[in-house]
């Protein structure tokens, strides 16, 4: 879908509330046409404020937002080529489903027969055409969300903005809706910008993700790059599970650097780019292997004792502690069907991982 044409440009955008709160701090990025873009971050990081500035409900304190080649300064929400799906869905309670979906066309003077036809098409798109005559109070949360989606899509916006659209749904429905939103986005070909605090949601749906923290955009990357190559301790920790150790750079050896950590000892890892002094050393729990026998010496090896076990069905989480008191979290996939645990608390085991899987984080 992505043809490389820029649809949204966010240039040096700041949003300050009062004198002390900076909700968005110098946001600077572009979104391409047809992208499924996610704004991800903990609550209060400014992601919703940024989305509301795109919709026109907030104005930037500084900077510029360009949508579809048009500078958005002074353009009211009703004149922007974007539509929004609200967190609360905001389905008009006194209108039937069909009238809700047709609302955006009626108020802009689209003829009645065209309104009816397009509302019907939009409802078919979200599989709600059977409920056209219902009132919102007769719908479930998931159905109301579909109405909100149809109501926004019927306007044929250049960009669809979604504010935490799945947060009010239960886990099963949320997973189903994630897939359906991706399918919907591919079929209508509209740029989607979604705000979420749920990293699974962002990773599974988006083409690109912007991770935000206290108003600042920390990293923008496709899901796999964000997961495997986070650029900072914050992103590494926020996305997925991560073992983070304090360490320092002990030396450089060609395109390898030697890192040293009190608990882990000294080992060399492939690393491009400059790194020196204090660094964060990180490795994902699923990249670590547990063995009873000493693993080959080309791997980073540690000895540890199992202190805690958490069983999740598809995988188990094993917490180990080595003699220096460093705790390491290891994910073990439960590939074979059995009920007896592979490890028990108190087991002395070898932990090992490929040095290439080690992340050296300077920020």
């Amino acid at each position: 879908m992505n043809n490389g044409k820029t649809i949204i440009s966010i240039r040096n955008v700041y949003k300050r509330f009062g004198n002390s709160v900076t909700a968005v701090d110098n946001a600077n990025f572009e979104i391409a046409e047809g992208e499924f873009f996610a704004l991800l971050g903990p609550s209060g990081c400014g992601k919703t404020t940024l989305l509301r500035m795109l919709a026109g409900f907030e104005n930037p304190s500084d900077g510029e937002i360009v949508i579809d080649g048009q500078v958005m300064e002074g353009v009211d929400p009703d004149k922007r080529p974007v539509n929004m799906v609200f967190q609360s869905y905001a389905v008009f309670p006194h209108m039937s489903v069909e009238r809700n979906v047709g609302y955006g066309l009626r108020v802009t003077g689209v003829p009645a027969d065209e309104t009816k036809r397009r509302a019907k098409e939009a409802l078919e798109l979200v599989k709600m055409d059977r409920f056209a005559e219902r009132m919102p109070s007769q719908l479930s949360g998931g159905q109301r969300q579909r109405v909100a989606l149809a109501r926004a899509l019927v306007k044929r916006p250049k960009v669809l903005l979604l504010d935490e659209p799945l947060s009010a749904l239960d886990a099963k429905l949320r997973e189903a809706m994630q897939l359906e939103l991706v399918r919907l986005q591919q079929s209508v070909g509209i740029t989607f910008v979604i705000v979420t605090h749920d990293q699974d949601e962002a990773l599974s749906m988006a083409n690109r993700i912007a991770v935000m923290e206290s108003g600042k955009v920390r990293q923008i990357a496709p899901p796999a790059e964000l997961y495997e190559y986070p650029n900072s301790k914050f992103v590494a920790d926020f996305i997925g599970k991560m073992n983070l150790f304090e360490g320092k750079v002990a030396g450089v050896d060609g395109n390898q650097i030697v890192v040293e950590s009190r608990g882990l000892g000294r080992f060399s890892v492939p690393h491009s780019g400059a790194a020196q002094g204090e660094v964060g050393i990180a490795v994902r729990p699923e990249k670590i292997r547990l063995d009873r026998d000493k693993p080959p010496s080309d791997r980073v090896c540690l000895r540890g004792r199992v202190t805690e076990l958490a069983y999740y069905g598809d995988e188990s989480n094993v917490f180990l502690e080595n003699e220096t008191g460093v705790t390491v979290n290891v994910n073990v996939a439960n590939e074979a069907r059995k009920t007896a645990a592979a490890f028990v608390i108190g087991d002395e085991l070898w932990l090992s991982w490929n040095p290439a899987d080690t992340l050296v984080l300077t920020e």
Binding site: A55, G56, F86, Q87, S88, F92, S137, A148
Partner: protein, 287 residues
């Protein structure tokens, strides 16, 4: 719990089977029942008497003489009473329209905006609700006196608006406290102008509050005596004031009949107002 025990031990004699009332079973305590009955008698006996004696076939209306509807007939043909009733309705309608408009706007503004001294302003707004009516009446009378406004139907209407609109504001405001502001944002987002948004989204949501407030304002105006008495002039007697003057001559069943009509009217309007409010309340919980 107590009934469970009774079921498990059916062999117990009947007298012991009845369990002691638990602390929350107020209705089963004898002395509480007595208090309740006393209260009902105290509150409603006068009204029941009033209504019953409106059907009494006796001029003096002291003892029950027999059933008749003639005093209703007489009341309906009493020209003074008729005029007073018509005047009351006109005043109530005017007062309702104006106080509903002002009150609805005020309720919305109090919900929507934050401004300096909002707290004290709200306190002042509720003053007409809590202030003794006689003070309000005196204030109104001296105010009109200072301005040399002749007392009459206009001054009554203005006074009624003054004490009614805070009630409307309170009802509308409490209705708005359940409003989801993203409904308005959604409307704007979908291409509606601010005024389209108000009429299509905000006003329909306010409507149950506005209707309930209007009905409240109507009954308040219709049965007001004290303020009306102080702000009325010659030839502007309202229904309650007229009844009062009739009572001063003699309490005839005709007065009872007229009062009964007023009770039925205000009761109907109040029940409709409460029904609309409770219905809208249930709706907003469901959505």
């Amino acid at each position: 719990m107590a009934t469970d025990i009774a079921v498990q031990t059916p062999a117990l004699p009947a007298a012991r089977r009845k369990p002691r009332p638990t602390p929350l079973e107020y209705g089963r305590k004898r002395w509480l029942q007595a208090v309740m009955i006393f209260n009902f008698v105290f509150l409603y006996f006068p009204i029941v008497t009033l209504i019953a004696f409106s059907f009494n076939d006796s001029k003096r209306n002291v003892t029950w003489q027999g059933f008749t509807l003639k005093y209703y007939d007489q009341a309906f043909h009493n020209q003074g009473l008729q005029e007073a009733f018509a005047r009351s309705i006109v005043i109530a309608l005017c007062s309702t329209v104006v106080s509903t408009a002002i009150g609805a706007m005020l309720g919305l503004a109090l919900y929507r905006y934050r401004f300096p001294l909002k707290g004290p302003f709200e306190g002042l707004l509720y003053l007409p609700i809590v202030i003794p009516e006689i003070c309000m009446a005196m204030a109104m009378r001296s105010f009109f006196g200072q301005l040399d406004v002749p007392l009459g139907i206009t001054t009554i209407t203005i006074s009624h608006i003054a004490f009614s609109f805070p009630f409307v504001a309170v009802v509308v405001r409490s209705r708005m406290s359940g409003f989801d502001e993203s409904l308005e944002e959604a409307s704007r987002d979908l291409g509606a102008s601010p005024s389209q948004t108000f009429f299509n989204v905000t006003l329909p949501y306010m409507m149950p509050g506005i209707i309930a407030g209007a009905l409240l304002a109507f009954t308040l105006s219709l049965d007001d005596f004290v303020i009306t008495f102080f702000t009325s002039g010659p030839g502007s007697t309202t229904f309650p004031v007229k009844i009062y003057s009739m009572v001063r001559q003699s309490v005839t069943p005709e007065v009872n009949a007229a009062s009964t009509v007023l009770i039925v009217l205000t009761l109907t309007v109040t029940i409709v107002a409460m029904w609309i409010q409770s219905r809208s309340g249930n709706k907003s919980i469901a959505s």
